[in-house]
């Protein structure tokens, strides 16, 4: 499963759609390598990358938390 496929599985979740962070059309067009400009999407990408690249959970956690401090 690719990073894009995993990301899509999160973005296609009905709950994500309900939260109204991003339109459905935009969700469909989104690419893992491109910035979405939506913080929630970006932290999901950080978590996916960390997992695929076998990064330690603590490092991914720190990356997410500091990303949201911006």
């Amino acid at each position: 499963m690719t990073k894009d496929e995993i990301l899509k599985s999160y973005l296609n979740d009905p709950l994500f759609q309900e939260m109204d962070y991003m339109s459905k059309e935009k969700c469909e067009k989104i690419q893992f390598g491109e910035s979405s400009g939506v913080k929630l999407v970006e932290i999901i990408k950080l978590a996916i990358s960390g997992n695929i690249d076998r990064e330690s959970e603590q490092i991914t956690l720190r990356k997410i938390l500091s990303y949201l401090n911006k």
């Binding site: 709950l15 913080k39 929630l40 932290i43 999901i44 960390g50 997992n51 949201l68 401090n69």
Partner: protein, 723 residues
Amino acid sequence: MIIEKIELENFLCYSGNVELKFKEGLNVVIGDNGYGKSKLYDAFYWVLYDQTFSSELKRFQYTKETKSNLISDKAKFEVENGRINSRVSITFLNDRNQDCYTLERKYSVNKINGETIESNDSEFIIWKREYLYSKSRIVSDEEEKKRILNNIMPVNIKDYLWFQGEQVESIIDFNNQDTLTKAINVLSNIKRYDEIKEIAINCVKAVNNEYDKEVKRLSKDSDKSESLSSQKEIINRKIETQLDEERELKKNLARAEEKINEILTKIDDASKIRDFQNKKKNAIKNLESLTNELEIEQIGFHRKMFKNKWLLKGTTFLHDSYSKLYDEYVQEKLKSETAEIIKSEHLKELNKKLQSRLPINVPEPIHVKRMLQDEWCYVCDREAKKGSEAFEKIESLLRIPESEDIKNKVRNFDFSLDLKKLYHVSLGLNQWIQNIDDNINETLLKIRDLNLKIRDIRNELEKIEEDIQKIISVTSLNPDEANNILSTYYIQKKYEDDFREKLNNLNQTLELNRQNLSSIEVELASLVTGTIPEYLTAKKQILRDFEAIAINTRERVFDKLIIQLENEANIHYSEMTTGNRSTKGQIKLKRKINGNYMPEIIDSDGNTLLGTNTSNLIMVKLSVIMAIISAKSDSGENYTLITDAPTSVFGEDYTFGFCKTISKVYKQSIVMSKEFYNNQKLRNELLTNHEIKIGKVYTVIPTILESERSNRNNLITQVHALN
């Protein structure tokens, strides 16, 4: 990767050099029991895992345990001095890049003058050929060896690809609820979603801490905030403990439910067996009681001969005779007494007369006798000649006292009272004797009645026993097992109720704690002076959303996977059970209270099918395994299925469906089977049916049959290719 060939040298019953080549599709090795199929399976297993299966010990053994037993007896027998090798090599071909790997395992012994010197371990070598025409080289780097082995057979899926018939049950163990969940985890990407969910949960914990610190820092009443924070911490800890308890309870509840479900199919049969057993017990009790009663009646029958005077039966005539005699006696007696009275009166008269002549006893008898002797009456002094009146008169004086004595004597032998008593007794008995027939009839009827009842109960017992045997043969449950099932059912039902009640109570307490937590949070927020930084509030919200999405997505993906798996499993299940006419139903992967999934068979209305036959249950397991493997194949990963007697645990009519299915699911499969040995029709179908992608088919036949194999020194296993 597919297996190109296996080469054996003096391995177990395969003496000499034997080679079996394989192709893509279904490869079958056919042989009867004891012909060497399992030893071939052992050869595959030995190369990769250095272990062979001991059918005596029912477990795998390493080479260091089996040692020279791995070597063919014929090879050991033929060599007096020198080295004997047992060697198996398997060649794997990566059909994508033409890489070729040969895995070789060897075990050697030395024989010196007939004495065998064993090595402790086997040697393992991997040969690698990178291009089709390049030369093979030995892989010496241990890491590379590990990588190659893992590519050939990943540890986590080995159990689903290499198995023996008897292991099918345990690969997906219906008693162990998380085996299916584990299999899904191993063979899918769901683990990633679990890990991302874990990150999200920890992110929320971290942001909550950060937020709480900020709330405390901005508090107008730091003491109160401190106290509220402590309370919050305590409640959070309580909630965590309670959540642990909840998980544990759910696990226990699911276990109890599972155990109930597991025996639910047998509960009706077990109840029937127990009811029959109870009936049998009662019948035996009744039979014992009636037999005792009959025995008492029979002993009593003999006693009644005396006690109830049955011996007197038919003797009423004796009473009649006696009665007649007694009457006569009474008459006679009366007569005699009357005569006696008359005589007495007469004597009295006579005495009166005698009194006028002489006083009684005067003269004395001695003088009377003298007078009779002298024929002379000395009283009147005159002659009294014998025969004269005077003589007789004198003589009569002697007779008077004598007649009195006789009377007395007669009175001493008077039995009239006894005879009278006897008469009355006889009269009473006569009445009794007249009722003896009725009494005997009554007793005989009772005995007959008891015998009839005993016969009925014996018949009933026979019928019960027949019913018990019938139900035992149908259900394969013996009475002890039936009792165990019932007691387990009641125990587990009690557990289930207890766990459910505890869970309800726990949920109420949890809800209360959560409410308290919210109140504290509201109170803490009310103490804040100034503004919490906007980025922090947003951060908290985003991470909470992340957590919610991570949890939801994981569940959704898992559920989707389950549905896919279920659909796929049903396709395989339907194909595999085509040849069987019993009720099949459909596979449903049912979610348990603890989140695990278990396969069930349901009917078209969605009701769980109880009492499904064992073969179908095993088919369900195989179908789920195949569904998992199919999912894995979809992602481009192909592995060879190697299985020894997979169809031995279910009926022959499933064999063809099974072969058809595995030829679709697995790119390559190697199946050792005996079903095609005896059934020529099935074998022909295997070789000619176009629905099966057939690879190579072999028969293995030993030169000496297992039953005649006391001496294995000449044992050779011959391999013949059928196509």
